[in-house]
Symmetry: C2
Subunit: 364 residues, 2 copies
């Protein structure tokens, strides 16, 4: 059994007394401010190491007397949409850290409109924040923006989707590829062979689909290949259009006319509830369906057994931890992990209630 932490009460004053110097000198050593002779510096460093001095962060924060004003640069959202969960987590952390004088402001962009992103990004570059939480929805534009922010020495963390080309402090989000892999396993396991399975994407006019959804599909296909299922299922892509009901319906009609034996479907976005509406209109038989994210209408469908599984990714936790990491870095000067994958949570009609309640409760 590992030994217990001893919560030391060692203070700068104690170290000073032991080293036979004043607190100011200890302070200079701790912060490496120089102007200390080698002899004393080494003695103080030895004591600090020996007794494992840990500064009192509460007192430090009070004495620093500085604000940490974070800007969250994320997609605009309506209540109940995916980003509203991330927003809730950010707010939670902000509340919790308020006594450390942390606050968060938001700059929103339209996640389906690059111009909107570019415009807001330009505004941020003109008046750079102290620190930033950043959702890199548009890859190329985001890399560009992130690099410019780095030049301006603005520390930032990435949320939801990673950019390997840049060096943000941390990244929180799901491993999209693995989540797609998991979906394939759950969907195809037990599904009759020689049937058709739909791989659906939800698009917006003028966009080429999200990075996340693309990687999820790649993960799905990786499972199919690895398990040698390519010949056993007829995988058919289906495009739905978030802003075009007619086109979505006609696409579905066409697919169901073309393939009689459709047994399952996955949609690589949180819009499975919309797909269900369409499917009802074409009066298809019962499918095994998997979608993403615990949005309210998705949960209703899950409980009604219209959806077999939902894959979730603790969005509140993502937002929460992003704020916490910025505090760790900028206030407490602690080490961070660059990449933090959120687990691929599997929700069913049986466990979804506790999942949601728990996530939500963490937000109070």
């Amino acid at each position: 059994m590992p030994e217990t932490i001893k919560n030391t009460k060692l203070r700068i004053k104690d170290i000073a007394r032991m080293a036979g110097v004043s607190t100011g000198t200890v302070d200079r050593v701790i912060h490496d401010r120089g102007h200390v002779c080698d002899e004393k510096r080494e003695k103080i460093e030895a004591i600090i190491k020996q007794l494992a001095y840990q500064p009192n962060l509460v007192a430090r924060s009070l004495a620093l007397n500085k604000d940490l004003s974070i800007v969250a640069f994320i997609p605009r959202f309506e209540a109940g949409e995916y980003w509203s969960y991330i927003h809730a987590g950010i707010e939670k952390a902000c509340k919790e850290m308020a006594s450390y004088r942390v606050s968060v402001k938001y700059v929103f962009f339209n996640q389906y409109d690059k111009n909107s992103f570019e415009q807001e990004a330009a505004g941020l570059l003109a008046d750079p924040p102290v620190a930033m939480i950043f959702a890199p929805v548009f890859i190329d534009e985001s890399v560009d923006f992130a690099k410019k922010m780095e030049k301006k020495k603005v520390p930032y963390v990435l949320i939801d989707s990673d950019l390997e080309q840049v060096k943000g402090l941390t990244y929180y989000g799901q491993h999209s590829h693995k989540s797609g892999y998991q979906v394939a396993k759950l969907l195809l396991d037990g599904l009759p062979e020689k049937t058709t399975v739909l791989l659906a994407h939800s698009l917006r006019r003028g966009t080429q689909g999200s990075n996340q959804a693309t990687n999820r599909e790649k993960g799905f296909m990786a499972y199919v290949e690895e398990q040698g299922l390519r010949d056993k299922y007829n995988l058919v892509r289906l495009d739905l259009h978030a802003d075009n009901r007619e086109e979505s319906l006609s696409n579905i009609h066409r697919v169901f006319k073309q393939y009689a034996n459709i047994s399952g479907a996955v949609i690589f976005s949180s819009r499975v509830h919309r797909m269900l509406v369409y499917l009802k209109e074409v009066k298809c038989g019962k499918l095994k369906i998997i979608g993403y994210d615990e949005l309210e209408p998705n949960v209703v469908a899950l409980k009604n057994k219209e959806v077999a599984y939902l894959i979730a990714q603790r969005p509140e936790m993502q937002g929460y931890l992003c704020v916490k990491d910025l505090c760790k870095e900028l206030i407490f000067k602690q080490k961070l992990h660059r990449v933090n994958y959120i687990p691929v949570d599997i929700l069913t009609a049986e466990n979804v209630d506790e999942y949601i309640q728990f996530n939500h409760r963490l937000n109070e």
Copy 2:
């Protein structure tokens, strides 16, 4: 879109100035210490409400200059066992709150020996802690102990298993019944009818099985009844003995001799890795098996596809949140939720890595 929190910088000094009184008077009102005339009290209360004054918890903690020494009264464990995960979460929170002068000491008992529990409990009653985290493994004895602690005004939180008869500040743990229900769904879904399914328990000499395991089985049976599966599967109980290899083996032999068509098994404890060892020795065919908890050998079995699913319950998070709640109550004087169910997490060979890594990373 909800509006942003404004991190107020309102201080007691500001309130005092506005109310035309001294800071001491404001302090008396905030802490309801009396000795303030109605007129001033009302004026101060109005300002506090109006401007939504939030005390600076960092400064409060520093000024309070008090230690919070928590005792964790939990089962003794070896590295890698279930309770070591809870311990890790407690230590994590302890580290994080060290600057609030929080520390944790442990009192361990043998979870398979009531006498050990009684003895340690008596010791705690003789020298009551300031606050306590308590794992009520033995129900009746724990109720008794908890009530005595209440009389001594010792605030405590319950972990892992609930006691509805007592009024601990909070409870963190899984809803055992629901987790059993979930297991039944996962196990029986797709399992051929008219086959035999084993419901295994891991016992210790002289104990009648844990409360948790019993409730899990009840949840399992609830699913069976609700779905009308009682006649479709032959459910057979199997007792394994944690400290008696021979008896366990002979029980398994007997069951496999008696029933030729065993297709699946669940063990309502974290000892599925032991069951697998026994099963290998009797050389039975491939079963669909579900067990509990992400212990190292269980995870290995999961990845080897010897186990279909593991049900997990974020033990680190449980320990972590217990400490945090005691701090919320005793340092920050915030409201708590009495009952907090941990989600029923479903682990597969595909998602277990991220799950473990994430839980572990939270511990740094």
